[in-house]
Symmetry: C2
Subunit: 247 residues, 2 copies
């Protein structure tokens, strides 16, 4: 029996989504721990996005195959999980899925959102979930730079530890830059994202926003295909996995 | 020299606004500590609202008289305070005020907001700043009950440890009930509020919302003038002091 779940988490206390050997706390590890105890045998789950340590999720999607003998309704399973999971990890929704559904392999796109707190704002309730700027941002320049990133590119320069065997070509379908009273939000949508890619894109766009880079440097950075030419990796705490898309 | 400041804080870690003897951490105490160290003599500040332990503030107003010898611009004073204060207390704004300005005595009204998380929502990022309901709320009944609370009344039943000497008559000018996707927000405005008053009003309105009280019980509760007739005191973590009004 295959179950599909929507998971929300505050990543502050965790070493990211993906289970690790040893005792480090991960979201996947916490959910598997509860399921394994309930099912009475070792259970493995798959998540659509392997968020880094400290990164949050509004709606992560995961799926799990449970033995037929462990007959439980999706609602019961959700209730049990929420009862035993720590309160910074919540199952928002649970449903039956087709036996062949795989949350990661079948995902067609993802939306991430990065929160920048404006340099002259001092918002206490945003402090743990945004990157505080130290100077003003030129939104128009950032938008111009974002234009160069849209579409299909080899994002090797925007990836930490790129694999030599796997492709680093990805399709960025949207970069929206929204200004609110206290924040600048960067909303990224694409078919898939490389390791640290959203955080490096954000770090680079911020360098454009503060004027330490020009928007027209972006095509060159893409062309160089080396991590060192892009900007710094933005802190994890400002990043949220917002949505996973399926056909 | 009299300075007026806007203060925002996350009340989670504090024993409320008001300084206490001993070592308990309070917002007033933390700010006075930094000012005293900077001014080189004991400094006392006044705050408009004495929020309880665990209650938050979006915009608390306080004022402080500093010696002429400690000549510093409002912006410098704000910068120094934010440098030394813990990051869950921030000075949003600082300005010179007339010598006679007193943040509490001159306040003409306040706005408080209480956050209720809907029973079927499991929002991780609201968990520390809302009261999670265990059943659905009937908003229309709550609105009807709120109607009975508006205007000038003796709110003695809605006050913990009412003073025998001081009046418990207050004017409630607005109770707005707003429903969002995951929350029900209660927005209270009035000339002044008694100890725990907003939390007891909230607790009572929630009991109406769940059907364990009828809206038309409110006039009777007001009339009885005894704490035990009103509902339970809602948890501190869902309450925010939003605004202080002056003429």
């Amino acid at each position: 029996m295959n179950y599909r779940m929507k998971v929300q988490y505050d990543g502050t206390r965790y070493q990211g989504w993906q289970r690790q050997s040893g005792s480090s706390a991960t979201i996947q590890g916490k959910i598997e721990e509860v399921l394994t105890r309930q099912a009475g045998r070792s259970v493995r789950i798959d998540g659509a996005g392997r968020t880094d340590a400290g990164v949050h999720a509004i709606e992560q999607i995961a799926n799990v195959h449970l033995p037929e003998s462990f007959a439980v309704s999706p609602d019961e399973l959700r209730t049990v999980l929420n009862e035993y999971l720590p309160e910074d990890i919540r199952i928002l929704h649970m449903e039956r899925a087709g036996e062949r559904f795989h949350s990661r392999l079948h995902a067609t796109g993802k939306q991430y959102r990065y929160h920048l707190m404006k340099w002259d704002s001092e918002q206490v309730f945003l402090r743990k979930y945004s990157w505080k700027m130290t100077e003003a941002l030129d939104i128009q320049s950032m938008q111009e730079a974002a234009g160069h990133l849209l579409g299909e590119h080899d994002f090797k320069s925007f990836c930490t530890k790129a694999s030599k065997k796997k492709t680093t070509v990805r399709q960025l379908t949207q970069i929206q830059i929204e200004e609110t009273e206290h924040e600048v939000l960067l909303i990224f949508e694409g078919s898939g994202f490389l390791y640290n890619m959203v955080r490096i894109l954000t770090g680079t766009l911020v360098e454009v926003g503060t004027g330490s880079r020009r928007p027209d440097e972006i095509p060159e950075i893409l062309e160089r295909k080396e991590r060192k030419y892009a900007g710094e990796t933005a802190p994890a705490k400002g990043l949220f996995l917002v949505k996973v898309y399926y056909d």
